[in-house]
Subunit: 138 residues, 2 copies
DNA sequence: TCCTTACACTACAAATTGTAGTTGGGGGTA
DNA sequence: TACCCCCAACTACAATTTGTAGTGTAAGGA
């Protein structure tokens, strides 16, 4: 269930998935229960109904990619994400952070402080604490 | 000349470009002069010669994307990157760092220290300095 | 005038993603 | 029992991206 890309465009799940895939994952991750294709289909934009087969195809591709799992229950399949949304975000942020540092090293560090300051200055303190913590632990 | 994706796979320019594109950019960026298609073609793997038209198509697509510029000189076009490799890396690292922080916030911060420690511990000091610097400036 | 050279145009394949039609099996209902 | 409906599987097609390469064409030199 290795992601391929981190997209520059979009936000949230759209960074990792296609638009329809993202909507589907959003639904699966904000519903505590396993869901059938029909369940998901009905939760998608009521304005523009999406064909049942379309939803099925996309969901089964997500299964193929190891992102969803399906289980036969009585007459229909129940789908649910293999990992929780938190686990997913955790994995992605870890992966990307490492890749970023590996790829850009000091260049990334240079922008890091700037980015933190602009997006959420409190994170600067958090980062500072973590550095101190690490140094103490050694 | 907006990049689309940052790929999890590969390294260096392969994170941003297809394999042939990456090789071509590598050549263009490590040669101080403007080059013709033929120049580039001859610098690509001598083992497996790549068709002139193939190189031309890919290079012209890079022009369309705003990554290369071409200029008619006498009878043939000269190609060169629109920005230097350093500028490119600078832009990408900035963009990605911001996106990472925007998207993951404190989650990214948590992994940051870990990543720096594993990849290049000296960057930890650098980061610490930069935080101090910023705080002083305000 | 003819040929070489280099560019333009066109096309195709594989992969990804969105879209949807057709088929078929299995179970419930008349 | 006969039939129908639901849902899953299979198939297909379009657009996009990237790699690949053939054909057409124009311009300059021999």
């Amino acid at each position: 269930m290795k992601m391929q890309n981190f997209k520059y465009e979009g936000s949230g799940l759209n960074r990792f998935f296609g638009p329809l895939e993202a909507k589907i994952m959003e639904i699966l991750w904000t519903t505590p229960l396993e869901m059938t294709i029909k369940d998901v289909q009905q939760k998608l934009d009521k304005a523009k109904v999406i064909n049942f087969n379309t939803v099925m195809t996309v969901m089964n591709r997500l299964v193929d990619k190891g992102i969803l799992q399906k289980k036969l229950v009585v007459r229909s399949f129940m789908y649910k994400p293999v990992v929780t949304r938190d686990e997913f975000m955790e994995t992605q942020s870890k992966e990307l952070t490492f890749d970023l540092i590996e790829e850009f090293g000091s260049l990334a560090v240079t922008h890091m402080v700037d980015a933190l300051d602009k997006v959420d200055p409190e994170l600067l303190d958090k980062l500072e604490q973590q550095i101190k913590q690490l140094k103490k632990d050694r």
